[in-house]
Symmetry: C2
């Protein structure tokens, strides 16, 4: 057992017990102070970040990676804004729900409380430190941040500022701990600290997520693939179908809520597919079609079985013509990663059946799947997007950093 | 991969997609039919159960084990009653919460949906089959039951009846699957079927639970130790303190919500401890005390560090005298298994601090911890009691077999 990592777990756990005693004003003050520190320490942040950028360039990291790593003034403004957004959110801690009196006179209800200590494992983007700490401080959780090696100087600078803000306002600085050891072993240590960490959130590539799932003794919020679908129904408005299908694929193809497979009802396929292809061609989207699609469009590749379960994260789209709503729902429930799926239809019953029967975290009627996001859903910041069904589906916000314990008011009841 | 077990997973997953289309009346009809079948097939059930009892006697199983295994007419009545109780519960599937319109006009809310397929691993008690199936059918989940080898004939008889009830009422019989293979390998197979099982609930000894935690790729509802505390505050009614502390230890010591450690404020210790010892002596409770307790009571053993973290499940109680509410809360948050803990006090502020600061699934003021139970809390039947913080704390009932997915109503929105 690595003693430094274990000690950070113990520290964060103890700090979380202090945090739960703080009222909303005290927690908001800390966030406000952190925002002010970020603003006044821009140069120190950028200097630390420059070390990471220089190291990254030397290591030959990709331009896209370096871009995610960079902390510009605009990004610092963004972090400050997130802090203010979280300050304005309602504090979920202590909310009491479902209070009832049972026959023996006990008054039984549930009260929302912090999860305890959150362990988060993330790659590159250092602004995650601030977004996550804002949410965990406000929800009275401790957090252990374990970022990637390429951002370690930036992460240490940012968490140093967060700790300063906590100290300035009388909150325990160990409520936010960062693990400096960036090898895989440090992740493995975290995953076994079940006495000190209550939940693990891996944010990163599939390799990381699988590693965490295989090794964790602590409950994990899985946050993996986004194989999203758009189904254009026979009763769709054709223009709307084109607009949504284009947006879901092209507007930002590299993110988890972008569409990977388009399903089109056979009755409208001959009308809409050529129109869609014209649009997609302009954006450089490569289409891969089922047999029926190949009969309508020329010059495209055949989709293989593998295509239906691939997250391209790129300007590639698999296309399938279906004979019915049932076939569309079956295909989605079989191949979707249960993230976000949409129907385009003006038929009331088809729309409602899609919402009821598609087993995904976000089910849409007549909108682009690109909206699945904590900010767009009105949650303020987010910890990530959950693909699993336990505890939270879709964007994980402030409220999902709490769970409900039972509280029981008696006047001497004993069990017979 | 064991093909039979895998196939049952696939079957249950497909069945769960059918179940979600059923309305409450259809699901209640199935439960009613199962209740009628249980009533008319009492002899067949008892004959199958007799095989298990005979085998058990031959194997030399303990009397307590054989008692839990036995299906008497009274127990069959109990199973029928559970089915009727679950019929009377409100169907949580489809409940819509928090519907809002965001600035771009999207209407975004959440809808409660089944988890999908529940894998439950349990020991001895065959009536678990009926209790669990009642809850999973009503909540439109598939279930895979993997019971212990000693109850296999009883489990097969009961699940045969459940399947008959499903067929009789037009529901998919594969919504309830039972795994006949009762070796550890079959559990391991289940734990890796992440495409077909959404949640694993182990009900059994600590060995089983640790095995499941170490090997599962699927989210687990942990349901382990019950190290429960009662703290008698300086402002307690002494009579009430004695009554509650006696009940919590003695009424049924072998269950998870029984008290294992008693904490007493130093100001009342000399008054209450001898009175409590008189009562405990009558019931044959062995006391193990801290140093201060040893100074008040004679003829008791010293409690070791290990005692504070031991679940005796027996007529043994560790006793500690504390100097303050803070010390009591610290002790509980350090040694409790976060199941059920109680304060006895007439001081408003101490009671409220206890509720707020004790990090347990059920926190009580002035009542016995023995009430932590799905039935006592008004949930009808329960799947188990969760010791973890993700998704559910305390008794897991019908509602906790669902989670909320996002539903989004648009009119053509695309992301800019």
């Amino acid at each position: 057992m690595n003693k430094t990592i274990l000690q950070k777990g113990i520290n964060a756990k103890l700090a979380s017990r202090q945090l739960v005693k703080m009222n909303t004003e005290q927690k908001n003050n800390a966030l406000l102070n952190i925002a002010a520190e970020l603003d006044s320490q821009r140069n120190a942040i950028k200097a630390a970040n420059k070390k990471d950028l220089d190291n990254g360039r030397e290591k030959g990291l990709t331009k896209a990676f370096l871009d995610r790593l960079e902390l510009t003034d605009k990004r610092i403004d963004g972090m400050i804004r997130v802090l203010h957004d979280v300050i304005s959110l309602k504090d979920p801690v202590g909310e009491i729900i479902g209070m009832n009196t049972v026959p023996n006179g006990l008054k039984i209800g549930q009260m929302r409380m912090p999860l305890g200590v959150v362990g988060i494992i993330f790659e590159s983007r250092p602004n995650v430190c601030v977004e996550v700490a804002a949410l965990t401080i406000k929800s009275a959780n401790g957090v252990i941040l374990r970022g990637g090696s390429d951002a370690i100087n930036s992460n240490l600078a940012l968490t140093g500022i967060i700790k300063k803000g906590l100290i300035n306002t009388g909150l325990p600085e160990t409520a936010v701990e960062v693990i400096e050891n960036t090898d895989r072993e440090s992740v493995k240590e975290m995953l076994r600290m079940r006495d000190y960490i209550d939940i693990i959130i891996p944010r990163g590539g599939l390799n990381l997520i699988r590693f965490v799932e295989e090794n964790s003794l602590i409950p994990v919020i899985r946050h993996d693939l986004g194989i999203c679908h758009t189904y254009i129904d026979e009763f769709a408005n054709i223009e709307m179908g084109i607009s949504i299908a284009y947006n879901a694929k092209v507007q930002r193809p590299g993110v988890c809520n972008a569409m990977e497979t388009l399903l089109v009802h056979k009755k409208i396929a001959e009308d809409i597919l050529p129109k869609l292809k014209t649009e997609y061609d302009k954006a450089g989207v490569e289409l891969r079609g089922c047999e029926k699609t190949m009969g309508i469009l020329t010059g495209i590749k055949m989709a293989t079985e593998e295509d239906w379960s691939t997250e391209y994260l790129d300007l590639i789209l698999s296309v399938k013509v279906v004979s019915s709503l049932d076939e569309a729902i079956d295909h989605i429930n079989t191949y979707s990663s249960h993230h976000s799926d949409a129907i385009v239809s003006n038929d009331y019953n088809n729309g409602m059946r899609f919402l009821n029967e598609v087993d995904s975290a976000a089910c849409y009627i007549n909108a682009s799947t690109r909206f699945t996001d904590g900010n767009e859903f009105g949650l303020g910041a987010e910890m990530g997007i959950s693909n699993q069904k336990l505890h939270v589906r879709g964007p994980m916000g402030l409220r999902e950093l709490t769970s409900a314990k039972y509280i029981v008011f008696g006047n001497g009841q004993i069990r017979e």
